[in-house]
């Protein structure tokens, strides 16, 4: 039981910190294109999303296709708060509170959706989470929220139905036009800090009594129940934590854009599936894998931009190749033989 310094967990933190130092050095020496600079915050968003979805898919073992829905809730509640307080708070504090609000609101939605959904299993659960994700996106698309001297006004019809006081009234969420003019409070440094916080919570959760209970449920529900683990509680807990971090990713995302609109592209099921691809490719339950997969798969289409119309073709070929190389038994044996000293896998006993 000797303590190892280079455990898989620590290597995950080290990879993130090294990547941060390298990128900062590149920026400092002016070697990073503005296109890449624009990708830095979204990269952090995707990493947080992938790691948080891995809690549901890899650790709890339930397939969720509504992750973008929680991100959407977080993004809008966080941006709403920032718009509401405006300049009355300074940027740093305002963003910290926005993050907390995004996390809490997404967590509440996680609980509300989790209670009915987690009674289902497998494919059914996946379909229902997909539906919930879409419902959230569509509701936000017709939601109008404004504020005036009398307080908050909410409508799902149109801006006029808000009945705002013409003097002091201000519409914050404008239905399909979303929220615009959110100050860009996020930065790459803040993104990396949030990634590290996500990793810290997720990895420590996995190695605690709670994480063991969640993984026990994943591996065998009946046996977990028979040793006195409260199934509902831990399923809901994992689902909620996962939703909360998706909310945080959403807040980060919202504060990187001047105009936030709930489009199918950013909060629809396409997004949910893309996050799922990160998780599956990185390995279910493998947090470090999720981080690497999210970064590589986000950068790849950009790096292949020069190839024009062949871009997505090559992207899909790379996806298949990576899948085969990382998970086929032959490739695994090959890696084990030549790079076995790098990974400290559990020894197998015949």
């Amino acid at each position: 039981m000797a303590k190892k310094i280079f455990t898989k967990d620590n290597s995950t933190y080290i990879i993130v910190i090294l990547a941060y130092i390298i990128v900062e050095a590149l920026i400092g020496t002016g070697n990073l294109s503005s296109l890449m600079k624009g990708l830095l915050v979204p990269l952090c968003v995707y990493v947080i999303l992938a790691v948080s979805l891995n809690i549901t898919v890899g650790i709890l073992g339930e397939l969720s296709l509504g992750h973008a829905g929680f991100m959407c809730v977080g993004a809008f509640s966080g941006a709403f708060f920032t718009q509401l307080v405006g300049d009355s708070l300074n940027g740093g504090l305002r963003f910290a509170i926005a993050i907390l609000i995004g996390a809490v609101v997404a967590a509440v939605f996680g609980i509300l959706i989790g209670i009915p959904v987690l009674r289902l299993k497998g494919d059914y659960l996946a379909i229902v989470t997909l539906a919930f994700g879409e419902i959230i996106k569509n509701i936000i698309n017709i939601l109008y929220v404004g504020t005036d001297a009398n307080g908050l006004h909410i409508s799902i019809k149109n801006a006029a139905a808000l009945n705002l006081d013409p003097e002091t009234g201000r519409i914050i969420i404008k239905g399909a036009q979303g929220i615009s003019g959110t100050p860009s409070d996020s930065s790459f440094t803040i993104g990396v800090i949030l990634v590290l916080i996500t990793l810290f919570v997720t990895l420590n959760l996995i190695h605690s009594r709670t994480g063991r209970a969640i993984m026990a449920i994943r591996d065998n529900r009946i046996a977990a129940e028979s040793i006195g683990i409260n199934i509902t509680k831990y399923k809901l807990l994992a689902f909620t934590v996962s939703a909360a971090f998706a909310g945080i990713a959403g807040v980060l995302y919202a504060h990187n854009l001047s105009s936030l609109v709930a489009l199918p592209k950013n909060f629809g099921y396409n997004m949910s599936i893309m996050i799922l691809v990160f998780v599956v490719l990185g390995g279910m339950g493998n947090i470090r894998g999720s981080v690497i997969a999210a970064v590589v798969l986000t950068l790849l289409p950009e790096l292949l931009r020069g190839l024009n119309e062949y871009r997505m073709l090559i992207y899909s070929v790379v996806l298949i190749a990576v899948m085969i190389l990382s998970w086929s038994p032959t490739a695994k044996a090959f890696r084990e033989r030549y790079f076995g000293f790098l990974s400290r896998r559990k020894k197998e006993v015949s």
Partner: protein
């Protein structure tokens, strides 16, 4: 003193009466056997005792506490632990973590403590490790503590399941065909282990088994089931000589 008292236990699945009017009294420290042909309702009784199924009739009293119709997790807390006919381990967890999962309700700390690694986390994890290693040593699994449960050989998986069940600190241990798929040597070894568990942990054990050598070797009392009903009940040696049992189960 009766540890487990079951009266008039029965369950129907639609028109099928799977278990009917099952009565048993198991004394503290007893090794009790439950035998019968396939489909007689033995595992159903285990599922009734552990709350997997809710009984249609009857009462289950464990150590003076009525546990009829309670949830599985609560019945475990009340003091019944079990193993399964088809082994159900947490296959992607290590051997050590399997046992530590069994210690879930003995060493408690909150999720918050776990995430922020407060002092209580380290204290509890340390005691958990010590207790888990103690149990693993009893079953000679301590050298494989870091192996994934799914990579253990079959016989050791059976042992690990018993170790995990014991980790919940039960009053009554239910073993569902512990010797299934074992060769005669392994079965003999298992008999010693079961006796050892009974003596060291002062455990009361109810087991389902087909292996007559094991049953006659270690069980003090027996219940024989056939088609959901009790055919014979009493001291092992007498029951096994009962002509009804011989025709129904052992063959003439």
């Amino acid at each position: 003193m009766a540890l487990l008292e079951v009266t008039g236990l029965g369950i129907s699945f639609g028109g099928l009466r799977a278990v009917d009017d099952f009565n048993v009294i198991i004394k503290k420290g007893q090794l009790y056997g439950l035998i019968g042909p396939n489909g007689a309702g033995k595992t159903t009784i285990f599922n009734l005792l552990t709350g997997v199924y809710k009984p249609t009739d009857g009462h289950i009293i464990l150590d003076g506490e009525n546990i009829t119709g309670k949830k599985t997790a609560d019945i475990c807390k009340a003091g019944i632990a079990r193993t399964f006919q088809n082994i159900r381990l947490f296959s992607e967890l290590t051997v050590l973590d399997n046992v530590k999962a069994g210690l879930h309700n003995e060493f408690k700390y909150s999720t918050f403590t776990g995430i922020f690694r407060l002092p209580k986390y380290f204290r509890n994890e340390k005691s958990m490790n010590e207790k888990a290693y103690e149990l693993l040593k009893v079953f000679e699994l301590d050298k494989e503590a870091d192996v994934l449960a799914s990579n253990l050989p079959y016989g050791k998986q059976r042992k690990l399941e018993i170790a995990r069940a014991l980790a919940t600190d039960p009053k009554l241990l239910l073993l569902d065909e512990p010797a299934a798929g074992m060769n005669p040597n392994e079965t003999a070894e298992l008999m010693d282990t079961i006796k050892f568990v009974r003596d060291t942990f002062d455990m009361t054990i109810l087991l389902i088994e087909h292996d007559m050598k094991l049953v006659s070797g270690i069980c003090e009392r027996l219940s024989v089931l056939n088609f959901g009903q009790v055919l014979a009940q009493g001291d092992t040696s007498k029951v096994l000589k009962d002509p009804k049992v011989i025709t129904a189960y052992l063959g003439e």
